[in-house]
Structure formats: C-alpha cells, structure tokens
C-alpha cells in the first residue's frame, strides 16, 4: 500500500488597524475591519469558493478515490462566519462527502505550546469544538500552526489523544532519510508523524507559475510522472500547502485550477498511489523510525524553523510581553478581553516583525500589511500596552492599601449612617406619637409616680399606669440619647466627608447616604468640618466611634424591644 496525502492549510489572520500610541487607554478596538473583510472577500471569491467547487466535483467524479484534508484556523472560521458564510456552507458540503478530513490545531493559529501546555490544550479544545459544531467532525489528527513541531509539542499532542501529527520534512532533521515514510514521535511512539515532501509541495505552491523555472510550465501529466518516479519502497507521499495556492498565490490565469482538475485522474489511472486522508495514512502504514526533533521546526522560509516568528529581539520581546499577561488574563471572565487576548496570539502578528529582508523578504512582504517590521512592532506593542491597561483595570488590585482601607471604612460609615438615619426617623416618629398621646401625660405622670414609690402595695391596680409611665420615662431618655447619637453621627459624617475628599476617585458615594450626610451637616453647621482631623487620625479614631455608636444602637434597640 502506497499513499498520497493532500492536505491544505486555511488561515486568514485578523489584521490590526493602525494603532497609534495616543490611542492607548482611549481606544480599545484593535482591528482593521475594512481590510479584513476586503481581503477575506477577495480570497473567498478567488480561491476558497472556486477551489471548493473543484474539490467537490473531483470527489464526486472519482467516487471515493480522491480524498483531501483541511485544517482551518478558528480565526479564519470566525471571519468566514462574519464576512463570507457561504464558504462555511461549501466546506460543509465537502464534509458531507466523507472524503474530507478536518485536522485539529490551535484556535488562534498561535505558537502557544512554546509557553504553556494548559493554555495549548484549551485552545486546541476550543478549535475542535468549533470543527465539531460546524462540520460534525471530530478531528483525530493534529496540525500545529505552520507545521511547527518538536518532540515536546508532539508528546503534548499525543497526551491530548491524537493519533498522528503533520510536520515539515525538514532536511536538517531528516538528513539522509526520506520524508516519504511514516515516522513516530520519539517521546511517545503512539503519535505518528506525517512529513511534508517539500520539493513536490513547493513545485505546486511556489514554482507553478515561475517562468524562469526550468520545469515551467508544469502540467498534470508531468507532475504525475514525478510521483510515479518515486522509489517503490517509499510509501507515503505527503503534499501539504496553503489552500490559497489555488487562485490566490497562483492566480486562476496561471492554469492552476486546470492542473488541479486533471491531476487526480492521472494519478489514479497511472500510478499505484492511493489518495488517503492523514488518519488513514496513520492507520494503514507502519511507522519506520522515531523522528528526533529537539528544537522546533516549521515549514517557513529556508531555515524551516521558528525564526520567521521569533527570530529577532522585536519578535521575542513582543511574544514574551504578551504571555507575561497570561496569568493576569486567566482569572478574568470578560469575553471581550478573552477574545482580544486570543487574537493577540495570532502568529502572523509576529511574522510581520521579521527582519529577514534578504533571504525570504519577498514572501514576507507579500503577506505583510505593514511597511516595515518596525511599524508592525510599534503597532503591536501599542495595542499590547492598551490591552495591559484594560487587564490591570479588571484585575483591580488595590493601587494603594491605605486608600482601599479608607474606602472600606467610608462604606461602613455610610451603612451606619443609613441605619442611624432610619432610627432617628423612627424614634422621632415614635416620639411624636408619644407627644400626641402626651396631652394627658401630666396626669399619668402624677398617677404613675405615686404608685412608683410604693410599687409593691399597688401592684395590681397600678399595673397598667406604671407601665405606661416607665415607657414614657424611657422614651424620654431615648430621645435625649438619640440627640447625642445624632450629634456624634454628625461628627462622624463630617470626618468621613473629609476622608471621602482625599480618596475621591476610589469611592462611589451612594446618593442616599450623601443626602443624609448633607442633611446632618446642615443641622450641625460647618464648624466640625473646619477642624476636621487629618486622614490618619480619622482612620484611628473611627473604629472607636463606630463601636460607641454601635453600643448605643444596641442599647436603644433593646430599649425599644422593652
């Protein structure tokens, strides 16, 4: 059994708008909607829709003999939903044929496994949920952003339960070995590794329309003969490329679609290679050897490593600064913050900062909305600065311990004041009642006092009157006490008012308590505020006052119960 696997990467970054430093702290929207929409629309019309149609027709025509695999980043799916929902529909149609496999990856097309396993798993889970929701498909094979791979990343992927992973058949990793076999992860042999045949892949992806290429023009028959010429012992030919190759990187005018239409038929007819999806390859073939990749590789640039994203100090600083925020972002439950954090992780932002001017500068500038890597860096860092401000605001760590202590005291005082106010009002109301009743009070008093002197003798007859007298007496006391309370509470409010002034930005004063304070101050006059103590002494003296106030309240409360 010899297999031929076609896999296509689909990703569209969410490009940031021009974000100047004076937007920091003022503007929290980071995206260039117009650019994102127009690019997505353009690519959808030129590539995704026509290419999907060709793929669909090919699958129908060859009745299960033609199979392909896609990995679509979550960011791309988001944008399809927003700007070109019909693309999603056409992928659904493809999914329904059963000849298409969808691969798993990080939702944001990020480089997160370099930083955190937990966050990596979270993003992968989010992506596979999305794939399941849209295409009713559970991915079993993993593909990391831009085919990034290392032993460690592979073992994380194996831990998540995937059976195979795709990566680049990088020369410096393989040495004399051929990419046309199935390999396995050196840390966890359960994870099988499919390697990209970069020569055959790039013949289509990069060289197809290059007129100075000795093999130009490339036609399906010629390509088929190259496939046929592969040693019969080599069993897995993997052709991986950007899906945008069809119609976008190579325009329709170059004949790329005709090439695509003709190729499967020729392959099926003239070679013994069988079209397989990655999971079929992993199931059907026996891995031949472990693949040792101690340092991450990718399919980008001549170096086939991470230097396209993390090659210079700009990229490294931006990347590290981003993930320094991770711990602060984790506990936040704000969906907008979460989404922005996800979008900040899109690997393309770091790609734009690459300073590899000469070797792969052309490819870099083709994909770059910025004029220079410095532009890209400054723009990203400005956005990150704003994001950091928002995150810090939400984690709301007390800026100043004293301020927070004071604001706590103030809010307690406010509550107290409200309670005092209520009681004063109640007591006043009850006192007024008593006064109304007290029109015949003098008689009662007299009557009450005499029996009071001899309580034992007049026990039975004087019961009712004596009771009313004590109540009256006590109520009199209470009113006098309430007056002192009022006075004291007045002082407290005056103090708390000064405290409030010093901590104004941290505190929001309840309107009700504010009016209460105003009323009391009006009654008490301004003398207290004038000689109001400083912050420190206010803090110290307050708890005592509060206590005495509480005591009085409880006492008066008891009395009322009596």
């Amino acid at each position: 059994m010899r297999t031929l696997c076609f896999y296509f990467q689909i990703h569209q970054p969410l490009r940031f708008r021009r974000y100047r430093f004076f937007d920091i702290g003022n503007e929290h929207y980071y995206y260039d909607d117009y650019l994102n929409e127009s690019i997505l629309r353009k690519v959808a019309d030129r590539c995704y829709l026509p290419a999907n149609k060709v793929m669909y027709d090919l699958i129908q025509k060859h009745k299960g003999k033609f199979k392909i695999a896609f990995s679509i980043s979550g960011i791309a799916l988001d944008q399809f939903e927003m700007y070109a929902p019909e693309v999603i529909d056409s992928f659904k149609e493809l999914a329904d044929t059963g000849c298409v496999e969808f691969l798993s990856e990080t939702y944001a097309h990020s480089l997160v496994p370099l930083i955190s396993k937990a966050e990596f798993e979270k993003q992968v889970y989010k992506h596979s949920e999305k794939i399941k929701e849209l295409f009713n498909y559970e991915p079993k094979v993993f593909r990391m952003t831009e085919l990034v791979y290392s032993d460690e990343i592979g073992s994380m992927v194996a831990d998540m339960g995937y059976k195979a992973m795709l990566t680049e058949g990088a020369k410096h990793i393989l040495g004399w070995k051929s990419p046309n076999y199935l390999y396995y992860n050196s840390l966890n042999p359960k994870l099988k590794i499919l390697l990209r045949n970069f020569k055959l892949s790039d013949d289509i992806a990069f060289r197809f329309s290059n007129r100075s290429w000795s093999e130009y023009p490339l036609v399906a028959g010629k390509y088929m003969s190259w496939l046929k010429a592969i040693d019969k012992k080599e069993e897995a030919v993997n052709i991986f490329m950007d899906y945008e190759t069809f119609g976008e990187h190579q325009w329709a005018e170059t004949g790329i679609f005709d090439f695509l239409k003709a190729l499967p038929g020729k392959v099926i007819k003239h070679t013994d290679l069988k079209f397989c999806t990655p999971s079929e390859v992993a199931d059907l073939l026996q891995p031949v050897a472990p693949l040792q990749v101690p340092f991450p590789i990718s399919w980008a640039d001549e170096e086939r490593d991470l230097t396209a994203w993390l090659g210079n100090e700009l990229q490294k600083q931006a990347f590290n600064k981003l993930y320094e925020l991770k711990e602060k972002v984790d506990p936040i439950n704000d969906p907008v913050i979460k989404k922005d954090f996800e979008n900040l992780q899109i690997s393309d932002h770091f790609y734009y900062m690459s300073t590899k001017f000469f070797s792969d500068g052309e490819v870099h500038s083709y994909f770059n909305p910025f004029e220079s890597p410095y532009d890209a860096f400054i723009n990203y860092m400005n956005i990150l600065s704003d994001f950091e401000i928002r995150v810090n605001a939400l984690t709301s760590k007390p800026v100043d311990a004293e301020v927070s202590k004071l604001s706590l005291i103030i809010s307690e005082k406010d509550e107290l004041l409200e309670r005092y106010e209520k009681e004063i009002a109640e007591l006043k109301a009850s006192a007024r009642k008593k006064n109304i009743k007290g029109t015949n009070a003098p008689e009662e008093k007299k009557a009450g006092r005499s029996p009071g002197k001899t309580p034992a003798s007049k026990k039975k007859s004087g019961k009712v009157t004596s009771k009313s007298a004590t109540i009256e007496k006590k109520s009199g006391k209470v009113t006098s006490k309430s007056a002192t309370i009022e006075k004291k509470s007045g002082k407290i409010t005056a103090k708390s008012e000064t405290a409030k002034k010093t901590v104004k930005p941290a505190v929001t004063v309840k309107p009700s308590s504010r009016t209460a304070v105003k009323k009391i101050i009006a009654r008490q006059g301004t003398s207290v505020t004038k000689d109001g103590p400083d912050k420190q002494s206010a803090v110290k003296s307050k708890p005592e006052k509060k206590k005495s106030g509480d005591e009085k309240i409880t006492r008066s409360g008891i009395k009322r119960q009596l």
């Binding site: 100047r20 430093f21 004076f22 920091i24 210079n312 100090e313 700009l314 490294k316 600083q317 931006a318 300073t355 001017f357 004029e371 220079s372 410095y374 532009d375 860096f377 400054i378 860092m381 400005n382 600065s385």
Partner: protein, 423 residues
C-alpha cells in the same frame, strides 16, 4: 577636483562629503588628487592630498581669457541674499558687508591674486566667477586627466577647466536647488546647475532621489547620471566624547539647519503629540537657520517650551556630545539628497527616524522611515523607540554594524570607475 569647502572650515554636509570621498580616493593606488578650494586657510588636513587655494594662484596674465569666459558662462551678478546655506554668524557678516559693498567687476589684490572669502557670502556669484577664472589658470598650468566638480558653486570652474584643457568633466551633485529651496528655485542657480550638467561627461548623484531630480527637473538623459551613495567617516577615538547625562528624561534630537528643507516644524508637531502622552522625554533642536524664530514661537504657543530645547548651531565635538546623550535622532527632511547626519548618529549608537524623502533612506535598513508630513507616524515612532526597548536595542546593535559597513572607500571606488569610464 573642485570643491567649495574643506574640513575644518565647513558649514554643511558638502565639505564633509568632499573630504570623505577624497580621502577614500587616495586609497586607490594609481590616482592622485588635487583639491582646489576658493580659499586655503592653511590648517586643512593635507596629509592625504594636495590642496590648492584659489587665493594663492596668480592670474595677472589671464585677463584676456577672463573676458572671453564671462561671455561663455553668462555671468550674472545679482545683489541677493538668497544664499545656499549659511550659518547665522556668517549671515550677519554678509548683511553688514552688503551695505558697503563695492560693485567693481574684478578685484585683484596686489600681485594679482583674487580675494576669496571661502564661504557662502553675499558676493557669492562674483566669487563663483572668480573661482572659474582661477580654475582655467590651474587647468592650463597643471597636468591632470579628469576634472571633478562638487555642486553648483564649482560647476563654472569645472566648465572653465574643461574648456581650457579639453579633459573630461565629472560633476558631483550633492544637492540641487529644488532640495534647498523647496521648489522656489532661484533661476540663476538653476541656470548654472543646468549648464554644468549639460557640459559634464558624467554626473554623479548622491542618491536615486537626486538622480531622478536631475533626470526629470533638468532634463538630463538617464544614462549620463550615476548614483554613488555617500558614506561616513569612522569616528576616531578622540572624537568619542561623551557627556554625562544630567537628567533622567529621554532625549530626542533634531540636528540640522533650521530651514524649510529640513522640516523642523514637523519635528515640533510630533514632539507636541508625544508630550501629550509621555512625561519623561525632552526634545532638542540643534541648529540654526531662517526658520529659527518661527520655530521658537511655535514651541511657545504649544506651551511645550519646558520640554523643548534649542541649542543653536553645534560644531565639531559638540555634535558628538549631543549624540552621546540622545535616545532618538529624527531627520524629518522635506527633501534631502543624501543626509549624512543619521549615519553619524548611528555611529554614536543612537536609533534614527528618517524621512522617506531622503537619499539615505534608500540605503539604510535599521532605521524607521516615515513620510516627513506624517506627524502621527513620526510621533508613534518616537514613542515606540522610547517605550519598547527591544527596538532601540536592535537599532543600536545592528544599525552600528550597518553604518560601519558603509565606507568611503567603496564610494570612492565607484567614483573611480566613473573616471575610468570617461577617460
């Protein structure tokens, strides 16, 4: 080789460039240079070449030729103070001189030597013509293979020398009047420039920007114009002076003549934007020029004078001292044929922001390039360089490397190839 100024007596980039190039040319074995300046002060660095001061050449026997010559170059005398570039002290002197200036046609001091001030003075056009006369004397008396004239001031001299000797003329354009005037070209200057370009066998432009100006604005056939980029002299140990920083604030520097060509107003507007957002930064405008008073007023009206400083014209070591305390160097030139000063800043480990309207932006990789009018982008770049250390670190390290690889020897070699081509 005809120049107008030579270190240490310089007022702009022209002298520096001539010196560097000439020094580079002396490294080429089978090449001998005779450098002619209007006035040799005697303290020039003559270790590498022969310097002839036009004020030391006797011309008594050349009067006939002189009459002829005037007809040819249509010598125009205008009593104007529109002067290519000048420093303020000299400017004042010019004004004083112009009041008691006599307007006789040839002024020979005794023993038949002409008087040259050797600067950009009020009787510039007279001096240019006199210089041309001397050039013809030298051309007849000395032996040489190629005539090389730097900028319009020496073009008449170059033309005269070519006419007398019949040797090929290479003219070197460091700036055109379009750059200096911002479009309001002085017709007399333009005329001299164009005559020089037409008479020349080859034209060397300091950048593609200038090359395009020569082709488009002066109507010169493209195949005659060759771009040779300037370079920068490596700093000697003695020049590596540094100033102790007395303030912790970041310093952003503009260094150049305060004239329309250099775009000082854009620097001020960008400074204002940065200061709205960032406290710990100061701006320095080093240089003087005709817009100085207006810039001062603008800074005052924006109420940023407490953070924006003017130093006046800086000379010699002061330039390096200024660089040593700078965190960012900005060159917002509206039109800059080349612009050596960013290279000097990079040598001193200062990250640079340069306008795309400068020749130097064609060769630099490790610099932020902006449009001179895009004040937002300029402010953003300043803020970015100050706020995100990775960027300035990268510029310091790789920018230094880049600029160290720009050697006058390489430029000189390309000039030498032009010579070989015309001989």
């Amino acid at each position: 080789m005809f120049g107008w100024e030579f270190p240490p007596h310089i007022s702009g980039g022209l002298g520096t460039a001539c010196y560097g190039l000439t020094k580079g040319l002396t490294k080429i074995p089978d090449l001998k240079i005779r450098f002619v300046v209007p006035r040799a002060h005697g303290d020039e660095d003559v270790s590498k070449m022969e310097i002839t001061g036009a004020n030391d050449v006797e011309i008594t026997e050349r009067f006939v030729n002189y009459e002829n010559f005037l007809k040819h170059i249509e010598y125009i005398e205008i009593d104007s103070l529109i002067i290519p570039y000048t420093d303020p002290e000299e400017y004042e002197r010019i004004i004083r001189n112009s009041r008691n200036k006599e307007k006789s046609s040839v002024n020979t001091s005794f023993r038949g030597k002409l008087y040259f001030s050797g600067g950009y003075g009020g009787n510039l056009f007279r001096e240019i013509a006199n210089y041309a006369i001397i050039a013809s004397v030298i051309a007849e008396n000395k032996d040489f293979d190629v005539i090389h004239a730097h900028d319009w001031l020496t073009f008449p001299a170059g033309i005269a020398a070519k006419r007398v000797s019949g040797k090929p003329l290479v003219i070197h354009v460091h700036a055109t009047d379009f750059d200096r005037s911002g479009g309001n070209v002085n017709p007399a200057v333009y005329d001299i420039e164009k005559k020089g370009m037409i008479a020349a066998d080859r034209i060397i432009a300091v950048s593609n920007l200038t090359r395009n100006t020569i082709i488009e604005k002066y109507g010169i056939p493209p195949e005659k114009v060759i771009t040779v980029y300037n370079a920068v002299e490596p700093i000697g140990e003695s020049e590596k002076v540094s100033l102790k920083r007395s303030i912790s604030d970041n310093i952003v520097t503009f260094l150049g003549r305060v004239t329309m060509q250099k775009g000082p107003e854009y620097f001020i507007e960008a400074a204002n934007k940065v200061l709205q957002k960032k406290e710990d930064v100061r701006f320095v405008m080093a240089g003087s020029g005709e817009l100085f008073a207006r810039m001062l007023q603008r800074v005052a009206s924006l109420r940023i004078a407490n953070k924006f400083h003017f130093t006046g014209f800086l000379k010699g070591d002061d330039v390096y001292r200024m660089f040593s305390i700078s965190d960012v160097y900005v060159m917002p030139s509206v039109s800059e044929p080349f612009g050596i000063s960013p290279l000097e800043a990079m040598q001193s480990n200062v990250p640079v922001i340069i306008s795309k309207q400068s020749g130097v932006s064609e060769v630099l990789q490790y610099a932020i390039k902006i449009n001179f009018w895009d004040v937002d982008a300029m402010a953003d770049a300043i803020y970015g360089l100050l706020s995100y250390p990775a960027l300035s670190e990268m510029f310091k390290r790789l920018g230094k490397e880049e600029v160290d690889n720009m050697k006058w020897e390489n430029s000189a070699y390309r000039v030498y190839e032009v010579y070989k081509d015309v001989i």
